[in-house]
């Protein structure tokens, strides 16, 4: 089989909103072909993680300028609370998705009375869809009903997977005491349809779903305890039933991973150490089980953090964004080259 090389074709920092010292947990989404921007990014930003002033920031990558537009805040917890009719204590991980009608959707973690364990997932969607919108306005659409216990403790982190019929599966996870991963099914317009668990193992969270065919998908999961590896599960019937697989041989320090199918090349971005988040790499694989590190995205001193990657395969380019030392969001772009062995 041909060897796969990731060739870097761009990278840098996504601009931060003015006077904003901290950023974390970015998400990427492809924009429609006729849009002036190629893709959009959203992340949470403010004084620090869990600070009262944290809002959701948004930027898009302009095709003509080949650079990111100035970031703006698109979700504010006070306004969101007014629109929902109940309070939101803190904002967290955002996940972006653009539907077939070119409408952007944003799934945002909002906490209840307590920390992240009291989170709920709020589904917002773009108002007044206009082509070439660089500062979209979002309005809440629903609070995803995921648990009977006051609907608390479900969070979102990784990008949704769009199925052949336009339906969407959104990876989510529960984290009050026992941690487990699950999938939310949405119809092509974003309407909530149901939820299904991924794994029976305890202490797995932040699933990243990688479809290798229409019905066969893998899920890669952060492990909050145990072997300091990346956990894996597979389904052969489009998420109906899941089987746990042996953990990957790759080390991981209890940190978020991202995965995407880049036209048949499976790609996975993760922290390749059981000790810390000061390295971030992208690996490639033909079968989704055996991985080869293909690019070193970032390396720092002990205590530095490069984490929470997001990946997108769009226009034959692999885009990766990640948290850079909690100060801003960095991005890199690759093309994939196949070389004969």
């Amino acid at each position: 089989m041909a060897e796969v090389r990731l060739v870097k074709s761009g990278g840098g920092e996504i601009p931060m909103p003015p006077d904003t010292p901290a950023a974390h947990a970015s998400s990427l989404a492809a924009l429609p072909a006729q849009h002036s921007a190629q893709l959009a990014a959203a992340w949470f930003a403010g004084e620090r993680e869990s600070a009262p002033d944290v809002r959701i920031a948004f930027s898009s990558f302009d095709k003509a300028q080949q650079q990111w537009t100035p970031a703006t805040f698109v979700v504010d917890r006070h306004l969101l609370g007014q629109q929902l009719g109940f309070g939101i204590r803190r904002l967290g991980n955002p996940v972006l998705w653009c539907d077939d009608n070119q409408q952007l959707h944003l799934f945002v973690v909002g906490t209840g009375l307590g920390g992240w364990a009291t989170s709920r997932i709020i589904h917002l969607q773009q108002r007044d869809v206009r082509l070439n919108e660089t500062h979209p306005r979002f309005e809440p659409r629903a609070v995803l009903p995921l648990s009977w216990l006051w609907n608390i403790s479900y969070l979102v982190r990784n990008s949704p997977v769009v199925l052949a019929d336009g339906a969407v599966v959104l990876p989510v996870y529960f984290e009050l005491g026992s941690k487990y991963p699950a999938l939310v099914k949405l119809d092509p317009a974003g309407g909530f349809r149901g939820i299904s668990r991924i794994s029976r193992k305890p202490n797995l969270l932040q699933p990243a779903v990688l479809p290798v065919s229409e019905r066969r998908w893998f899920a890669y999961m952060r492990m909050s305890g145990g072997t300091h590896k990346i956990a894996m599960a597979e389904t052969d019937d489009a998420g109906n039933r899941w089987q746990d697989l042996p953990d990957l041989e790759l080390p991981n320090p209890n940190a978020s991973v991202a995965a995407v199918n880049a036209s048949g090349v499976q790609t996975l971005t993760f922290n390749p150490s059981s000790a810390g988040r000061n390295q971030l790499v992208t690996a490639t694989s033909a079968d989704g089980v055996r991985w080869t590190i293909s690019s070193q995205l970032a390396t720092g001193e002990a205590g530095d953090e490069f984490s929470y990657p997001a990946m997108l395969w769009h226009d034959n380019q692999l885009w990766v964004s990640y948290t850079d030392r909690r100060r801003h969001i960095a991005w890199q772009r690759f093309t994939i080259q196949h070389q004969a062995p």
Partner: protein, 238 residues
């Protein structure tokens, strides 16, 4: 589109407007009931005034409203809890019995929600199943079934069963409780079908963690009363 086993056939969450109105009305009924219950030994005028004030406060659509903070912590109470609270408010504040200035024991017993164990046990068991299911302790997941029509059919079946029991029961108080709960469940089904309240999941319409905890309290109270009555009867026989 390939359906999962417990997937709804169409989008099922309530509209944002319905969600907000449902949450405010829900907490208005619950807090109105709590205030009326706390003031149960006071004059009817005071009880009514306080309950109406609390209800109106809960209906304010901003952070001045208790609903804003209760929604933050607990989202929306179940429709059954709302129905029971509505019933309590009606009985406690607007019936002839409630109008008596001082509530004697017989009046209190009329407006008290003393439910038979036959009604409390299903609520307690269902709550335990849903609570443990939240922590993924079972092989199958019960909560997603609440998004399907099977849950609505199960609720309908339970309401019909209660009606049947009430028709056959010889005990007047139990008959009334079974019949009232059957009507409340039927109303909850109608509201859920029309507006998808409170969340789009039928189980959330039927029972919430607060109602589940209250069922434990009512069951304990009923058991203690039964034991006391049994003890008294034994003494008389001795």
């Amino acid at each position: 589109m390939m359906l999962w086993p417990w997937e709804a056939s169409a989008a099922i969450t309530p509209s944002l407007f319905a969600l907000s109105v449902g949450m405010h009305v829900g907490w208005a009924l619950v807090l109105g009931t709590v205030s009326a219950w706390l003031l149960r030994s006071f004059a009817i005028k005071l009880r009514r005034a306080v309950a109406v004030t609390v209800v109106l406060l809960c209906l304010i659509p901003n952070a001045w409203s208790p609903s804003w903070w209760l929604g933050l912590a607990f989202q929306t109470p179940s429709l059954i809890l709302q129905g029971l609270c509505g019933l309590y408010l009606y009985r406690g504040l607007y019936t002839q019995a409630a109008s008596l200035t001082a509530l004697d024991d017989s009046t209190v017993s009329q407006i008290k929600l003393r439910w038979p164990l036959g009604l409390l046990l299903p609520a307690i068991i269902a709550g335990w199943m849903l609570a443990l299911d939240t922590f993924a302790l079972f092989g199958i997941s019960f909560y997603p079934i609440g998004f399907t029509p099977y849950a609505v059919l199960a609720a309908l079946f339970f309401a019909c069963l209660l009606q049947l029991i009430s028709a056959r029961s010889g005990h007047a108080a139990s008959t009334r409780h079974y019949r009232e709960l059957a009507v409340i469940i039927l109303l909850a089904i109608v509201v859920h079908m029309l507006f998808r309240l409170p969340t789009g999941n039928m189980w959330d319409a039927l029972i919430d963690p607060w109602l589940w905890m209250m069922a434990h309290g009512f069951a304990a109270s009923t058991l203690i009363q039964s034991l006391r009555a049994h003890h008294k009867r034994s003494k008389v026989i001795d």
